[in-house]
C-alpha cells in the first residue's frame, strides 16, 4: 500500500508564508480541515492534500487543525468508520502533523460505537501530539455512548469537534447526524469540555442552531461549509458573540476565503475579527498548540 506523502513533499523545508495572502495578513487558523490518508476513496489523495496546503498558504492559513475520517468510504463508511480504518487514518494524520513544522495539527477521530478503541485512540493521539477529538456522525450527539469520550476530553483538556446537521428534521442517508439541540445536551453533561459545533454553512437550517446553543457556553461554532448565505455570519455573532465563533473551511477553502472577506465588511471590531480568525482557537485548544505559527 502506497501512503500519501507527508513531510518535505508537502511542506518543503519549513513554513512558506506568502507575501500578500488573499485572506489578509493577520493570523488565521482553520479549526476544521481534512486530509486524505492511506487507502482513501479519493482518486488522488496526494493531489487533494497538496491542493489544501497550497490554497491554504495563498489564503494565509497558518495552521490547519485536521482529521482523516478513516478511509472516506473505501473500506468502511465515512461517518461509520471501522476501528482499523480509524487507527490507520489517525496514525497517518499524526505523522502528517508531526512533519508539518506547525502548519498542521491533528484531531484524533473516533467512532463511539467502539468505546474501548475510541479511548485507546484518544490516549495514543494525546501521546503523539493530537490537540482535539473529532466526532463525525456515528452516533447521535446526546447518546450515552459519547459520555466516556466526553470524560476523556475533559481529562486531557481537549476540545471536541462534532459534525452537525443544522436543524435535522429527519434521518439522512449514511450518517447518524445530530443537530444543535442534540449537541447542546451532550455539552450540558460535560461542562468542562468545549464542543465545536461543526460547519454552520455545511447543510441544514443554520437559523435553528443559534438559539439551540445560545445558553450553552461550552458550545462554540465554526463557520465552515459550502453555504455562504447572507446573514448567516451576522446572525451567528449576534446570537452567541464573536468569542464563540471560529473561522474554518472544511471541504471548501473557496467559501472560507469568501467568508473572510465578508467578515471584513460586516461591521465587526478588529478584536472580534481577530477572535474569529485565530484567537478563539488559541483559547480553546491546549496551551501552546499554535505557538510556532501565531503570537501567544
Amino acid at each position: 500500500m502506497i501512503e500519501p506523502s507527508v513531510g518535505f513533499a508537502l511542506f518543503g523545508s519549513g513554513p512558506a508564508a506568502v507575501s500578500n495572502p488573499l485572506g489578509g495578513p493577520a493570523p488565521l487558523i482553520d479549526v476544521h480541515a481534512h486530509f486524505h490518508g492511506p487507502r482513501s476513496s479519493h482518486v488522488d489523495a496526494n493531489e487533494y492534500n497538496r491542493s489544501r496546503i497550497d490554497a491554504g498558504r495563498r489564503i494565509g492559513v497558518r495552521c490547519h487543525v485536521a482529521s482523516v475520517l478513516g478511509s472516506w468510504g473505501r473500506t468502511s463508511p465515512t461517518y461509520f468508520p471501522s476501528p482499523d480504518d480509524l487507527t490507520m487514518a489517525n496514525h497517518w494524520m499524526l505523522r502528517l502533523a508531526g512533519s508539518s513544522h506547525g502548519a498542521v495539527r491533528a484531531f484524533v477521530a473516533v467512532n463511539p460505537n467502539h468505546p474501548t478503541h475510541a479511548l485507546q485512540e484518544i490516549q495514543r493521539g494525546v501521546e503523539q501530539g493530537a490537540i482535539g477529538i473529532k466526532l463525525a456522525a456515528s452516533r447521535r450527539a446526546d447518546d450515552v455512548l459519547l459520555d466516556e469520550i466526553g470524560a476523556a476530553a475533559a481529562q486531557h483538556r481537549l476540545p471536541v469537534l462534532h459534525h452537525v446537521w443544522q436543524h435535522r428534521r429527519r434521518d439522512w442517508p449514511n450518517q447518524d447526524a445530530s443537530d444543535g439541540v442534540e449537541l447542546a445536551r451532550l455539552a450540558a453533561r460535560h461542562p468542562a469540555v468545549t464542543f465545536i459545533l461543526a460547519h454552520i454553512g455545511g447543510g441544514g437550517d443554520w437559523a435553528h442552531t443559534f438559539p439551540a446553543v445560545r445558553e450553552v457556553p461550552n458550545v462554540v461554532m465554526d463557520l465552515a461549509g459550502s453555504g455562504i448565505d447572507r446573514g448567516m455570519m451576522d446572525e451567528a455573532v449576534l446570537w452567541v458573540g464573536a468569542q464563540r465563533v471560529l473561522w474554518a473551511a472544511d471541504l471548501t477553502l473557496c467559501t472560507g476565503l469568501t467568508k473572510l472577506r465578508a467578515l471584513d465588511v460586516m461591521g465587526l471590531s478588529a478584536p472580534d475579527i481577530a477572535d474569529i480568525r485565530w484567537r478563539n482557537a488559541v483559547r480553546i485548544f491546549p496551551a501552546g498548540a499554535f505557538a510556532s505559527v501565531v503570537p501567544q
Partner: protein
Amino acid sequence: MSPPSATATSATATNLFASVDVHCWIGGYPFREIPHPDPDVLVKVLTREGFGTAWVGHLPGAFHRDPTASNRALYTALGPYAPTLLPAPIVRPDWPGWRVELERAKSEGAMAVRAYPMQWGYGPESSALAELAYACGESGLILQLTVRFEDLRQRHPMDSAGDLSAAAVRAVARLPESRCHLMVLGGGRELIEEIYWGLTTAEQARVWFDFGWVWGPPENHFAHLVRTMSGQRFVVGSAWPLRLTQQCRALVDLLPPAAFPAFVLAEGAAIAHHARRHAKTD
C-alpha cells in the same frame, strides 16, 4: 528569492470583475429573512466589490403565479439606478399576455429575462418554455434559468419545487433553429457538466453558466471546469441578496496560477450584444 505572492491572479481578476454581475435580485425571500435586499444597498455592494453593473430580478415574483405586478415593482424600483442596475424581469410563457411582457422587458432596457420552470411546475420538455426560448432568441434577449435559490438541505418544507434539472436545460438548448442565448444560474459542477457535454458544439456555444455554486480548492472543481470547458463559458453571478457577493472573485483568485496564466471569463454585456446582433430582424 522573494516569497510567492498569493495575489498572482488577482490583477487579472480585477479587470474581469469590472463588468456585469448577471445574477442579482431585489426584494424579500419567502422562506427566510435576508438583510436589506434593496437597490440602493446593491449599488453600494457593486461599488465595493468592483462591479460595473448588475442584472437584477424581483425575488418575490419568482414565487408568484402572475409575474405582472412583480415586474412593475421591479421597473419602478430600479428606475432611479439605471444604467447601473438593469432589470431582468420574469416572463411566464403560459400566462396570458406574456409576449407583451417580453416586449416591455426590451423597452425597459433589459438584457435578459428570467423564467422559473420548477416554480411553475413545468416538465423537462415544456412546450411553453420552448416557445419562450424561441421568442427570446428572436427578440435578442438572453433567457436566464435559475437552478436553485438555496441549498437543497436547508429548504422550508413548503419549498418543494426542487432544483432545475439538466434535462430541462438541455431540452431548451437543443431546440432546432433557435437563436436563444441561454444562461444557467446557480448550477454546480455535476449539473454544468451534464448540460455542457450533452450538447453539440453549436449548442454549447449558446449556453453560459455562472459559477458561484461551483467548488474551488481543495477539490478544485472550478479549475477543472475552466480547464475542460474554458473560461469563456462562465459569467459572474453572485445570487445577491441570498448569497455573499465575494464568492466568484474568491474562486478566480484561488485558481492555481501556474495552470491559468491567461484566464478569461465570458462577459455578460458582450453576450447581450451578441444576442441582439443575432435577433430576428426580418
